[in-house]
């Protein structure tokens, strides 16, 4: 057998935990001085909740995203280093991708940069999901209700987290800057090295850590760069600012973050198995990681995300200081709802009413083990979700006024039950979305996501 040439170290500069969270120029420059083979950042998360995917808006700030992108693209294009961005606009559906692409084109014009831009869409058509459902190629994740035809039809902006394949396709087509829709976080870091023959387990595990940039260092920061060097049998992590370093403990601890099983990290096409993983201190704030394995799954599964409109929200914020009222708060709120529903009858049927009672169980809700509050004051957020904004506003206004003047038994303060910090007291919050799809879908071609290139 012909002896294979040993792979050279592959160096990756991860700029920031989420595109738009920023990074110090000094760290970025230090990263560039190490001559990286790739500059990448992940831009997405489902953490801020379902609203952003549904509304097509980014949860990051445009000016901040433009600042990060300008530095990355300018450095990458001038030095011929590929720049790869995943989960554009935070949620990675078409409107988010377009939002990010507009920023990239603006930067190219303003900086007079010319390059080949690669674009990947992550949107999945409802018909494709319906077809997969019919063919038994949909599988729910734990605690997620089974998918139905109705749920798919009601959902908006369905996306799939892409793996490395579409990125590899575009890199092979000569794309210098890639902006992709919803992506599996490590994919932007792992695609290029995997295409060059590096071990996918190590490449993906490195990507899993770099996608949070310096969060996995100590002290952690989401607004600082991290540097990874991938070798044939290991990878090395290092921080780029003098105030932080990677330690075996910081790197290992990161593996726990936002995951249910730190030994097995599932992703498109398989999972990263960390049961044999070792973290070794190399000194000078560097850590070497070995033993991460990629285990392909039976069939290629992608994670789908989708949301549906749940209604329109209106809220009012108020405080209660009266000890008699605090002592009876649960029965008072129950009675107020009954009264409101009696007055509005059919007009309140489609609306849901929630009292978030801070100082009692506003944070933990049903999970709150402390049943009796000792608090001398309570904060109440009255929340109504109605089928239209008008209906939500109406139910909220009545609930607020009924609660304000409700004559509960033993009441001694008869001028009003609530302290409002603001005038106006009511706020119309607009559309409310909820997650409706969080399922796996089996696909035959992992690179089925539509890709295109554009000359800038």
């Amino acid at each position: 057998m012909e002896k294979r040439k040993k792979l050279p170290p592959f160096k990756i500069l991860s700029t920031t935990a989420i595109l738009g969270y920023g990074f110090p120029l000094s760290s970025f420059k230090k990263g560039l001085s190490k001559k990286p083979d790739l500059i990448a950042a992940d831009a997405g998360s489902t953490d801020p909740g379902p609203y952003y995917l549904g509304s097509g808006k980014s949860f990051t700030n445009r000016t901040a995203v433009k600042r990060d992108l300008r530095l990355m693209i300018k450095a990458g294009v001038e030095r011929h280093i590929p720049v790869v961005i995943g989960s554009a606009g935070g949620s990675g559906a078409r409107p988010h991708l377009d939002w990010c692409l507009e920023i990239v084109r603006e930067i190219a014009r303003e900086e007079k940069l010319h390059f080949k831009l690669g674009i990947v869409q992550a949107d999945v058509k409802k018909e494709a999901v319906l077809k997969a459902l019919k063919e038994g190629k949909i599988s729910p994740l734990p605690f997620v209700p089974p998918l139905t035809r109705k749920v798919i039809e009601d959902s908006e902006n369905i996306v799939a987290q892409m793996g490395v394949e579409p990125f590899i396709k575009l890199l092979k087509a000569g794309a210098q800057v890639i902006v992709a829709g919803r992506s599996y976080d490590p994919a932007v870091f792992a695609a290029l090295p995997i295409s060059r023959g590096y071990d996918p387990g190590l490449a993906l595990h490195l990507g899993k850590i770099l996608e949070c940039a310096a969060i996995a260092a100590t002290p952690g920061s989401g607004s600082d760069c991290a540097f990874g060097t991938l070798e044939e049998d290991s990878f090395v992590l290092e921080a780029l600012s003098p105030e932080r370093k990677f330690t075996p403990q910081s790197a290992a601890a990161h593996t726990l973050y936002e995951k249910s099983d730190p030994y097995h990290l599932p992703g498109p096409g398989g999972s990263i198995d960390l049961t044999g993983c070792q973290f070794e201190d190399l000194g000078q704030g560097r850590v070497r990681v070995t033993g991460s394995k990629f285990v392909p799954s039976d069939g290629y599964w992608l994670k789908l995300e989708g949301v549906r409109l749940a209604g329109y929200r209106s809220i009012s914020v108020a405080g209660v200081r009266d000890p008699v009222m605090i002592g009876k708060i649960d029965e008072i709120l129950k009675a107020v709802e009954v009264k409101v529903r009696n007055i509005l009858g059919k007009d309140s049927e489609g609306s849901r009413l929630y009292f978030h009672v801070y100082g009692k169980n506003g944070v933990m809700g049903e999970l709150e083990p402390v049943k009796k509050t000792k608090s001398h004051e309570l904060g109440i957020v009255i929340e109504v979700i109605g089928p239209t904004q008008t209906e939500a506003d109406a139910v909220l206004a009545l609930t607020r006024s009924v609660l304000l003047h409700y004559g509960y038994e033993g009441r001694i303060a008869t001028a009003g039950n609530l302290a409002f910090p603001f005038s106006p007291s009511d706020v119309a919050m607009g559309k409310v979305y909820e997650f409706s799809i969080y399922h796996l879908m089996q696909v035959s071609d992992p690179a089925f996501f539509p890709v295109k290139t554009e000359k800038l």
């Binding site: 609203y51 403990q249 809700g365 049903e366 999970l367 083990p369």
Partner: protein, 107 residues
């Protein structure tokens, strides 16, 4: 420990936290300062699904997994979210403030 007096988890934990693991799960981490304490918890199986279920007042079936993670000398517990992140009625979109019942653990 003398006389069987119980110790607080706060004496031995470095980190106790909660966070979403996707919109449908809540994941809790207990990281130990000292490996000996981690080993003690592991050996004596001090964190079990029933113990977590009773701390949070949920059914045992809502505790998805409990994993002892060697590289971080940590215990990870994953629960079902009562309400998916951001669904009407939710109280904590990121799930970042659901760890307090763990602070009452004694052993």
């Amino acid at each position: 420990m003398k006389n069987g007096a119980k110790r607080s988890i706060l004496k031995v934990a470095r980190v106790i936290r909660s966070k979403n693991s996707g919109p449908y799960e809540l994941t809790l981490d207990i990281m130990f300062k000292d490996r000996r304490d981690y080993e003690l918890f592991k050996k004596r199986k001090l964190i079990t699904a029933s113990r977590i279920a009773s701390l949070y007042g949920v059914d045992k079936s809502e505790v998805l997994k409990i994993i002892y993670f060697e590289p971080s000398q940590a215990i990870k517990i994953t629960l079902k979210r009562k309400i998916a992140s951001g669904t009407p009625g939710d109280t904590d979109i990121y799930g970042a403030q659901q760890h307090a019942p763990l602070l009452n653990l004694k052993f």
